[in-house]
């Protein structure tokens, strides 16, 4: 276990301003264990009284070595690890990885699987935004919103449990389609949920949007404009709140998103309040997409026919020799993916989630790298917090919506 060691002046010299080295400003450690940092994020704040001069994020406290670990597992088994990257968007991670593998394999996914993928991705987006609104409001001392958001989230988690058996880490979306077809009660459960959720979103808005305390704590705080966002490679709700209507689902559609009719919510303020409004409106648009997907859900298979990639149904194994051999080969050696490199970008609730996959022709991924939105978005923390109070830092971290599993991988 590494010992603690004092940071010397030399280490900090190029990070903090000269006033800190003379002692004029204070260095405060907002440590890895903190109720409002949404995970294990360490911030080194340089304070002049209560005003933040500089804010240096220190990440890596949740580094899991996913990329190296995935190199030692076959493609199907490595997908289990992708759930746990951005743990509020597990199906989105699965989707990014599956799309990358399917692109390398040139595999077609049946239409029913595509529609269900879109539905689940949007439900996961709702799930993530609900947790976001709950925890951000909790940080700004609106505690009841947290309990209401968790109540709605339980309904979504019940749907996930119904289709896959697990509440959060489902690994339901796999290269080639889905794991298995949805049960009979799935459509009914989603319809019931869709009837309930719009009124609930209005309830959160009525609690927060016109609330003078909330507005005081969030307006004109943590401002960034669209130009800076693009310079720093930020996308997602942060960029949309700064004025640019950019969404991966419209720019480079995947999994059939071009067939759905939805708007891209945009605000121009660039502050915490704008990001809040953007995410609330995104929740409403997600509901719209799920409604459309539910209406157009076709019948059909949910897995690709390619037996070299997708395992045969269990019922076939008893009667067909080829099915047994395919099953055996897939489980022991795994399918081989042709040589090549792809980069697939999807829209996660935080921004652009990309999967860079390089294969050398074998059954295990040679190099898999996830371009995670939280890692990029966290770089603008110094810009956002400069000149604000310490109490605003909490609100700002919440508004960027970082997930440390996403940042540290």
């Amino acid at each position: 276990m590494p010992e603690f060691r004092e940071l010397t002046d030399q280490d900090l010299r190029n990070l903090v301003s000269d006033r800190a080295l003379t002692g004029e400003t204070m260095l405060l450690n907002m440590g890895p264990q903190h109720p409002s940092t949404h995970g294990v994020l360490r911030l080194l704040l340089e304070l002049d009284g209560e005003i933040v001069i500089n804010c240096i994020p220190d990440i890596g406290f949740l580094h899991t070595g996913v990329e190296k670990n995935m190199e030692t597992k076959t493609y199907a088994k490595a997908e289990v690890m992708t759930d746990r990257l951005d743990y509020l968007n597990p199906i989105g991670n699965n989707l990014a990885y599956s799309l990358a593998v399917e692109k390398l394999l040139d595999l077609d996914v049946p239409p029913r699987a595509q529609v269900i993928r879109v539905m689940l991705a949007e439900l996961t987006r709702l799930n993530s935004h609900l947790v976001w609104v709950g925890t951000s409001a909790l940080d700004l001392a609106a505690m009841s919103v947290f309990l209401y958001a968790m109540r709605e989230r339980e309904m979504i988690l019940d749907i996930f449990e119904m289709i896959s058996g697990a509440r959060m880490m489902t690994t339901y979306v796999r290269p080639g389609g889905l794991w298995r077809d949805t049960p009979v009660e799935f459509e009914e459960a989603v319809r019931r949920f869709l009837k309930v959720i719009p009124a609930r979103i209005d309830e959160y808005e009525s609690l927060l949007t016109k609330n003078p305390l909330f507005m005081d704590r969030t307006r004109h705080i943590g401002v960034i404009n669209a130009e800076e966002c693009q310079r720093w490679g930020i996308n997602g709700p942060v960029l949309r709140a700064a004025g640019l209507p950019f969404d991966m689902r419209k720019a480079l559609p995947y999994s059939g998103y071009e067939q759905y009719d939805f708007a891209i919510p945009t605000q121009t303020g660039g502050d915490i309040y704008s990001r809040y409004l953007v995410r609330i409106e995104e929740m409403r648009q997600s509901v719209r997409i799920v409604q459309q997907a539910l209406d157009r859900l076709p019948f059909g298979p949910v897995r690709s026919d390619n037996r070299k990639v997708m395992p045969p149904p269990r019922s076939e194994i008893g009667v067909s020799m080829e099915a047994l051999i395919h099953h055996f080969k897939l489980w022991t050696e795994g399918y081989s993916v042709p040589k090549g490199t792809v980069y697939v970008a999807t829209e996660s609730p935080r921004g652009e989630l990309g999967c860079f996959l390089e294969s050398d022709g074998g059954p295990k991924p040679y190099r898999v790298h996830f371009r995670t939105p939280s890692f990029s978005n966290l770089q603008i923390m110094p810009i956002l917090t400069r000149g604000h109070f310490v109490a605003d830092v909490v609100g700002i971290i919440g508004s960027i919506d970082i997930i440390l599993g996403d940042t540290d991988r």
Binding site: H63, Y87, G405
Partner: protein
């Protein structure tokens, strides 16, 4: 506890053993420390929320400060960089303290068997209850907490 209220009339006197009172007070208001690291933290938050209420077990609030908490629920994977921090937080908690290792990663390293994750938080702190699952359902966490309560109720006072 023997309620001999009827015998003593309305004096309201209860006779019991000292250990039972001490253990009863410890279990019924055990405050967990907010130590959610990764995905299990979200399930811990769900357990705290209204659907699977943890307040009915006395854990109304989760204290952020280790100096004011009794129970450390290590929820999530502990990386090598975080390990000294976990130990320091554990050392900062006053006695009596208990540790629940929630989830597979805290119990044994979970899915991640590699250079970056501590294989089980019991390499760093002594664990009382392990709750399995990836992530464990809120009901599983509650089962773990009740198991811990039953263990605490069996504790004997060894020194004054």
């Amino acid at each position: 506890m023997g309620l001999k209220g009827q015998k003593t009339g309305s004096l309201g006197i209860v006779t019991t053993k000292l250990e039972e009172v001490v253990n009863w007070s410890r279990t019924n208001s055990m405050w967990p420390m907010l130590f959610g690291l990764a995905c299990c933290a979200i399930e811990m938050m769900s357990a705290q929320a209204s659907n699977y209420d943890l307040s009915r077990f006395g854990m109304e609030l989760m204290r952020a400060s280790p100096r004011q908490s009794d129970l450390m629920i290590v929820a999530g994977r502990v990386s090598r960089k975080m390990a000294p921090v976990v130990r320091q937080l554990y050392d900062q908690m006053p006695d009596p303290k208990w540790v629940i290792a929630m989830g597979d990663c805290a119990a044994c390293g979970g899915v991640f068997n590699n250079y970056a994750i501590v294989q089980g938080v019991d390499e760093i702190v002594p664990v009382d209850v392990y709750v399995a699952g990836c992530p464990p359902r809120p009901e599983a966490l509650i089962h773990g907490i009740i198991t811990l309560h039953e263990r605490v109720k069996q504790e004997k006072l060894k020194s004054w």
